[in-house]
């Protein structure tokens, strides 16, 4: 890194080369940690499941699941697609992943563009799949060629969606963690806890909001792509 020599902060991921492909080891490790946390949470919830008076954990989880499920069904009203499980999985994974970076010693898996781009590509493929399934292949191409001179713009519009979706999440988490490091490095130790705590609280909010936005956008892209012959204004 070139620049101010006092402040060399390493933002590169340690990589390992397997069969000509670079793997970011810390991202893979942290993704597995998030998956493990979610599995353990699921196992604990499953063992404590009650019909009568639910425990606090069960209550909170049910509230989140109900909220996302209702939102998904409201967005997809009238379409025969069950996206609730996907939306809940995406939201809980991203929420834990975004918050993991705020625990000292850990980094978010979403701190890496590869993770967010992978998730965004998944949503892109899903959008195309549901679009073809609901309109059939002819209708799909008819939709792309609705106004023939605008065909390139329509394609760019479709391709820009996963890129903006991934960049929004990636930069929010990446800059959040970088700023936390910068606060520790740049500000004198006796006062650095104050902006550090403030920025951590803001990062909690940002992480939740960005996880929510990623989920809602994935669902609403699919809702737009499967719209029943809506008017193109």
């Amino acid at each position: 890194m070139i620049g101010l020599p006092l402040l060399q902060i390493d933002v590169n991921h340690p990589t390992v080369n397997i069969a000509g492909l670079d793997f970011n080891t810390d991202t893979i490790r942290n993704t597995l940690i998030v998956c493990g946390l979610l599995l353990i949470l699921g196992a604990i919830l499953r063992s404590q499941l009650k019909v009568g008076v639910p425990s606090q954990l069960q209550n909170a989880t049910e509230a989140i699941i109900d909220y996302i499920n209702n939102l998904t069904e409201e967005t997809l009203q009238g379409r025969n697609i069950a996206l609730g499980p996907l939306a809940i999985t995406l939201f809980t994974f991203l929420l834990i992943a975004n918050w993991l970076g705020l625990v000292p010693g850990f980094k978010s898996p979403t701190n890496d563009w590869n993770t967010t781009l992978g998730l965004a590509l998944m949503s892109f493929v899903l959008v195309q799949y549901f679009s073809i399934r609901s309109r059939h292949l002819g209708g799909y191409f008819k939709h792309l060629l609705l106004v023939p001179p605008y065909f390139p713009l329509t394609v760019i519009d479709e391709l820009a969606k996963p890129i903006t979706l991934s960049f929004r999440l990636y930069f929010n988490i990446f800059v959040g963690e970088l700023l936390l490091t910068l606060i520790i490095v740049l500000i004198p130790t006796w006062i650095s806890w104050l902006p550090g705590a403030a920025w951590t609280l803001f990062s909690l909010f940002i992480g939740a909001v960005q996880a929510f936005i990623f989920t809602v956008l994935t669902v609403s892209y699919i809702a737009i792509a499967t719209g029943v012959e809506e008017e193109h204004g």
Binding site: I2, I206, Q210, F212
Partner: protein, 88 residues
């Protein structure tokens, strides 16, 4: 000398990038919140859905200055213009 010019220009660019993006995002946040308050005052029973929409809108808006901040920090800490001069 060239190095000093590039460093100064980079810092000015960082200031402009951060200041303008924060200015725009601040205006946008204000508009979103004020309209949400107006809507809630008109129809208090819509508060839940309006709040969700407001949070989504603010998330969209807040992403822009944060992306700007990321690009600005890249300019400062891994200056690509400076490496053109020093040739490293």
């Amino acid at each position: 000398m060239e190095r000093a010019i590039v460093l100064g220009a980079t810092v000015i660019a960082f200031g402009l990038l951060l200041g303008l993006s924060a200015l725009g995002a601040g205006i946008g946040d204000g508009l979103v919140s004020s309209r949400t308050v107006e809507g809630t005052a008109r129809q208090p029973e819509m508060q839940g859905r309006l709040f969700t929409l407001m949070v989504i809108g603010i998330g969209f808006i807040e992403a822009l200055p944060i992306i700007g901040l990321g690009l600005g920090l890249f300019l400062i800490f891994a200056n690509p213009l400076l490496s053109q001069i020093t040739g490293k």
